[in-house]
Amino acid sequence: MIATPFTPVASLLGGALIGLSAVLLMWTTGRIAGVSGIAARLFPPYEDSQFAGRLAFVAGLIVAPILVRLVTGSLPAQTIAATTPVLIVAGLLTGFGAVWGNGCTSGHGVCGLSRLSVRSLIATITFMATGVVTVFLMRHWS
């Protein structure tokens, strides 16, 4: 386990940027900034004509660190401890669960809670709980 510093100011500021992005997307396209919903709809079946916009949003997500590296010359720490098999299983579960539950950390946790949605509150409490239990079992169960 790698210790990480407590960063309340940077995290609050970064969180505000995420919120700003969600508000801007609603203001311009009228849609929820739910990353899993946006990413999942990049694959067929296609139900509307928003493909290019969704692809552009995802491209923005991916280009952000490249821009940060160009401007500041470096990137903040990123430590991925999971092994390849764990990453594959985790990815499958994350993708499947996000679609099955109609949203992820952004769609339910940010946009849904901000709309005072009961469904999103239940979803957020549930994934927080199973996330906590999973980490507990991985780190302290031996």
Partner: protein, 155 residues
């Protein structure tokens, strides 16, 4: 124009993930690790990410949703469902296990691609497969007689 704007909005989202520290799975896992509270290794930062994001979105949505229509669309596509079905618990429960295993949720995982990490590519590949599979299963004719919503992704 609308495409460029959505690219910029995705960029702001990605910058938020990087500035907040959420693009680092170690930080996410240290938040989810309640065993770290007594050990002194708990990282409460993620709560501040959520607080900052929800505060801005709560105020911003209130103002924006008072408008007649969005800038580039005819109407707002705000989720209307209020029913509590098994999927709204089972889905997030599965999602949370995946999140806890690697420390990645969809946004940070996509942003991690731009960090150039091989691990992120493997996670995102599997994540997309999981998404496609879930949509496929959700569209299968129901044998239980339970009517599934027309759009399985509608929040």
């Amino acid at each position: 124009m609308a495409i460029l704007v959505q690219f910029a909005i995705g960029l702001v989202f990605g910058l938020g993930l990087i500035v907040s520290g959420m693009s680092n799975p170690a930080k996410v896992l240290n938040f989810l690790d309640i065993g770290g509270i007594t050990a002194g290794t708990w990282d409460a930062s993620l709560a501040f990410v959520m607080a900052g994001a929800v505060a801005v979105t709560f105020i911003g949505f209130k103002r924006v949703l008072k408008l007649a229509r969005p800038f580039f669309a005819e109407r707002f596509y705000v989720p209307t469902r209020e029913d509590i079905d098994p999927k709204i618990i089972v889905g997030p429960a599965i999602f949370g296990v995946g999140w806890g295993l690697a420390g990645f949720c969809p946004g940070p995982a996509l942003t991690a691609l731009g960090f150039g990490s091989t691990s992120a590519f493997m996670f995102v590949g599997a994540m997309c497969a999981g998404m496609v599979l879930a949509r496929f299963i959700a569209r299968l004719p129901s044998s239980t007689g339970i009517v599934t919503p027309a759009d399985p992704l509608e929040t």
